[in-house]
Assembly symmetry: D2
Homo-oligomer: 433 residues x 4
């Protein structure tokens, strides 16, 4: 007897088009970022290339949605890529040509999916795969609060299950490896129930199990309700703990609170998700705002990497990779830090205070890792004792960003470090007996 491997045995690492292209990514830019990933990042473990929302919307450009706009759809009420943006989709090929190219790079391909069935299908009398009309499986009361494309699906209606199966079967046919489903992990269409889409999650879980291809299932947006942690863990591989994360210090600080809530659910192929890394050049095509380089300071970016890695969050890069500067690239290619994300065990919040935090983990070989965080906007000394870490003895502190030993600690000598505003360190503790 064997244990079945989970679809994501370690936290997924990759690139997603949202932060730089919003709803408007094109085939050309997608493949160019994939090529960058292959050339500069793959060797460090980065592997997923994810095409985010509205690849079926011909007029989409950036993070603003066009309300009630025509969508590209096949005869079974399934969305298909807009050919003006994804030319290889012509002739009914969908994403299969793109998937093939990405696989040829040694990478994996992901797509975004909005929960539900197109409103366009419902109001135009379209059919689904079983012949049931789209309007007869639509849950009319279930609409996404921020996008007009879909109605939710009433999971109890005849034809609902088969509809979702037909969607994932099409993804499998295309060669999709990862699906980021949206408007699903927090969607309060039933009064006071932010987890109203539970049955649709189950239908998707079953559809993936049945589709004949391994696919990672990622659920958005957050905050996913922690009261449903078991259901999330049983049905998905990763799920968002927060609303959309962007390059704002407040959101970074808030993530510490969320990690404190969720830490016990990390591991065994299940990954509460801190959301994308808004580093490098972002919002490249934004009509109103223009693009900008991340507003995070370098210390904030390192603090973000330290938290995401010691917590074992999925890591999805937001940058237009071709515009990376040296610092951004260095941030994403530190093997000692990424090892904490990929080859540690379980995160433990040792201290969670408004002004400072200490997190602990252990590598697979048992060696402890500890990160100390300054959550204030001033310099601050943060310290922790071996007793607080449940340890005893003497050990060297290996700084995982400086790649060198920076001191020792023992029962009588706490770890103490003076950190810049919103700064942090991450150490591996190496026993000296």
């Amino acid at each position: 007897m064997l244990h079945r491997p989970p679809a994501a045995p370690t936290p997924p690492m990759g690139w997603n088009s949202w932060d730089c292209y919003g709803a408007g990514i094109t085939e050309k830019d997608l493949l160019a970022n994939a090529a960058y990933l292959r050339d500069h990042l793959k060797e460090y473990g980065w592997q997923y290339v994810v095409c985010d929302i509205q690849w079926y919307e011909p007029r989409a450009v950036d993070t603003d949605y066009n309300n009630f706009t025509p969508l590209c759809m096949d005869e079974y009420s399934r969305l298909i890529p807009a050919e003006n943006r994804f030319p290889s989709a012509a002739g009914g090929k969908g994403f299969s040509v793109i998937a093939e190219q990405i696989h040829a790079m040694g990478l994996k391909f992901g797509v975004h999916l909005l929960r539900g069935i197109p409103r366009q299908a419902v109001h135009s009398g379209a059919k689904t795969v079983t012949g049931v009309l789209a309007k007869d499986i639509a849950a009319q009361y279930s609409v996404c609060p921020w996008n007009t494309d879909m109605y939710g699906v009433d999971a109890d209606k005849p034809g609902a299950r088969e509809y979702y199966e037909s969607v994932f079967a099409l993804f499998a046919e295309w060669g999709v490896d990862y699906v980021k489903v949206d408007d699903i992990a927090n969607t309060e269409f039933l009064k006071d129930d932010p987890y109203s889409a539970a049955k649709e999650i189950e239908l998707m879980r079953d559809a993936i199990d049945k589709c004949g291809r391994t696919m990672v299932l990622s659920l958005s947006p957050g905050p996913a309700p922690i009261a449903h942690a078991r259901h999330l863990s049983a049905n998905a591989d990763l799920w968002r703990m927060s609303g959309d994360f962007w390059d704002s210090r407040d959101k970074l600080i808030e993530m510490f609170r969320l990690c404190e809530k969720w830490y016990a659910f990390v591991g065994d192929g299940k990954w509460p998700d801190c959301d994308m890394l808004p580093v490098g050049r972002l919002m490249v095509t934004h009509r109103k705002l223009g693009s900008h380089y991340t507003r995070f300071t370098r210390d904030e970016q390192i603090t973000m990497m330290n938290l995401w890695c010691i917590f074992r969050s999925p890591l999805m890069i937001g940058a237009e990779l071709r515009d990376n500067d040296d610092f951004t690239l260095s941030l994403l290619t530190n093997p000692e830090v990424l090892a904490v994300n990929q080859r540690s065990t379980r995160p433990v919040p040792v201290r969670c205070e408004p002004d400072e935090a200490v997190w602990q983990n252990a590598m697979e070989d048992g060696s402890p890792v500890v990160a100390l965080f300054n959550l204030t906007e001033s310099e601050r000394t943060v310290s922790v004792t071996l007793r607080e870490l449940g340890l005893t003895g003497t050990c060297a502190l290996r700084d995982l960003w400086r790649h060198e030993t920076v001191g020792t600690t023992s029962d009588n000598t706490p770890i103490a470090v003076t950190l810049p505003p919103t700064g942090s360190v991450m150490y591996r503790l190496e026993s000296m007996g």
Copy 2:
């Protein structure tokens, strides 16, 4: 200087088509009930004839809605009567012929309106009165939880105000005297806010003030949130305190709790609404359930009338009036009881307990009225002292259902009466010095 009279100086009394015809009332049945009202009830104060929901839906039959079904609409995205059901609407006459006939009977005419703009208009590219597209004033995230006809209107969008003005101007043109707006007094399309439609209520208030015709504004469904009592009172004439009321003992008992919450807001032309009176023959055309005569016992019906009247609730009859039996008619034509509803001052809950209730009011001439209620399913003696009523002296008890004096009370002799299960009495206290 004069005080402007409110649109409903006393609680509105009338008949509404919902309880007997659901969404499927026709011109013929509407006018037949109006004629009954004229012949048997008008002299007791009953005056409104209200045509409830989906008069624009050609296929509607009963309380079940057809999802995503075609609606009758004019060129400005306004709903108009379905001619197959309301033949006099032919030739663009809308409800004007019916209104005229009802006015000729000495009665007033009311219609139902669902908050928003038809989804059919939004998805078919229709215009509104200002030329703005329906899709550009639709609040896409705002859908009714139980009916697919409309999207809410985003009150901040250009053209939103004019759209609602155009709807009420059409009603004024038709001769409408009363509008029951639905999906508005409790509609949680914004998270945790059951009063999300406040701005649409204000637009409707302004539209009525501007339309050149006096119209009573009634808001549904309940429970309207009491935290917004002031806003309701400032903008509407009546509003629902409860979810849909039907002939169920549990709902009747629950109404005592709701009256206890809302009593202070009764009066000065403002009427928290206990909802319709489900008496007589109900659900006449129901496809699945068939019709039934009210399931309330006679004692329960009297208890309902006593509460609705001493509380000064609006009174809207649910019965197919032509099928009234003698008891039902007698219930609706007791002048002493209806006088409490129309010519008393303010209700006071003297005792509100799980098992019994005592309510008090005073007629315009100052004479006290008291009702004693048994809320249990067994016989029970309920009593109250003059001290509890804030009174002193000696007085006769006039039973408003038996139309005779049934005893006296004084400082030393409480009012005490043995009541059948869910039974009640209502007395006017006549001073004996």
Copy 3:
């Protein structure tokens, strides 16, 4: 038959020792303030002289309480005045000598009472009037969150009712006219129930009804839970809507929100209470903070008076009256403004916005009163139309602070006035036809 008059047919007006003396008022200062009331304020309607908390605590000085300190108590576990502070209480006379003197001035006398029975009685084995031990009626789980003097009383225990009766009988014997009961209108000793003391309120109501003397019953602290408005109204004469009110602009602004919630419960001898007027010299004896003159600007004080009066709140002066300056005295002796408080009908909130408010009332003769409030910290023009006030015609605006007509208004000419920061006006509308 007669209607029994309520204990407080109009909002009570008087002086209370808390704002100037905290828990430390003495007989001398109490009587000196009473004399000032007699000489300068009585003719304007001010009549109650209320001795606030801990008159039984020998060491009390200001608003800080001594924890677990010895209290003066009689043989039935009832608190009695500390003789070092109230010398006339010697020889078991309690407050009777003081009450007599105050009555002789043509004024009325009030005392404070903390809900419950002294912990000192419970832990020392003391008896109550029936012989039942104090510890056997104490509700051990019920303690005041801010003072250690008492345990709550378990209303269901034998002897509980008699204990409260004995307390109010003693007050009646002394000649008390007004009781401010504390730790009762909002006291969450039962989980999630801020109205846990409901049964003790009922015992006190009954005890007053039985004591043979008319006493006004005032309940503190706030916020009293509006869900229990009926119970408050049935059992007390006034009750606090807010936490302790002091001379802070934020608290003044918050009071507009609270009045908006509570307005419907005002009238018929029942008075939701905005709390004391922190004007003049305050905190006279404070050990740590010293005394100060009110921090309110003159405009804020007028705004406070306008709100308290048009809302018909009880009016209790907080000042050490002997230190009043001319402005303070003028504030308290404006007959036209006080008439709105004493001889109007019911308050109506016409507009309640973050930045401005308009309130309306009508004098007993029907003449409308309107107050316009600027709630911002800048100058602001506030206006209201006759339509919004439910009026029509033409009328003169009498400014109740300037005592003159300042303009007219009509259907086409709204009332509009430019107000200083946190400023307001109050007008009586006099018909010109």
Copy 4:
């Protein structure tokens, strides 16, 4: 460098006096039960003997508390055993003689502690170890809702830390191995905060770390708030998930819901606690109710053991052990079932439905364990597939209660078993390749 071992590396197993003796256990009965533990249970892993609440109350007999009753206390306001109940405490020996005897049996000794400082000390002017008066560290607003012995301690007051240190130092001196602190894991003395005692928990944690003796720290009562899981885990060894658990089917069913919430926090020496096992003879000395044998059916008892063991709950026996019948003893001495509790890894809730549940765990050697539960009151077949368990292949099902192989399962053959009302099975899966 070494990892410090947790105080409770596996879920604590033992006996506690509450279920059979309430607050009234005596030295004689305590030692008699300890002797039984030594003779019949120790070899199966049972080791703790815990003396529950009010060992300092001379008049305590059963689960009813005497309110405001005299307590035994030393000169530093610390509680000491009542000599009439624990004669060996005479001469200031406290629990040291009893601890010694229990240690001599090869067992460990635990005591109960109510959070806070005796009210008797506060009201009698008693001192604490530093000379600070008891009344000056008491948090007057913090009282236990169900017992009058203590006031909470205000952790910020000088002398508070030292007071708690003195209490645990005394326990260390006596030889205490386990402390069950009560009124602490859920105690809402601050409004809306069921975890108001967080600072006192920290003081106790520090006091134990400093006392020089390993002590297990158990927190009661439940429900401990899951929002504070991290704090509980960082400071205590076990904590209650539920209110008091007794032999009621409803409470047993409810425990499945609680385990579903808490499972992720089980392991690494931290134990969310299902509470005591109410088996055998209970409430031996109850004045009003008399004693009774557990009301659980045998199936319910097995279901309880299966859940407690696969979830890895602490196991504390409630029975008067000397009255055990054969079935009760057999329930507590099944080595295969107890091995799941002591030597598995982490519990996983595979299915959590109102009518049935499936839980999974894995032994330290990796072999899977699965328990299937019928939560209805009728016979019911429950099944689970290997896919749902994340497994594949073929394996034998070893029934841990029947001690034999009862079938096999494979990818195509689900585990399916027909269970009696509230019945369950627990299987270890043994690979057949």
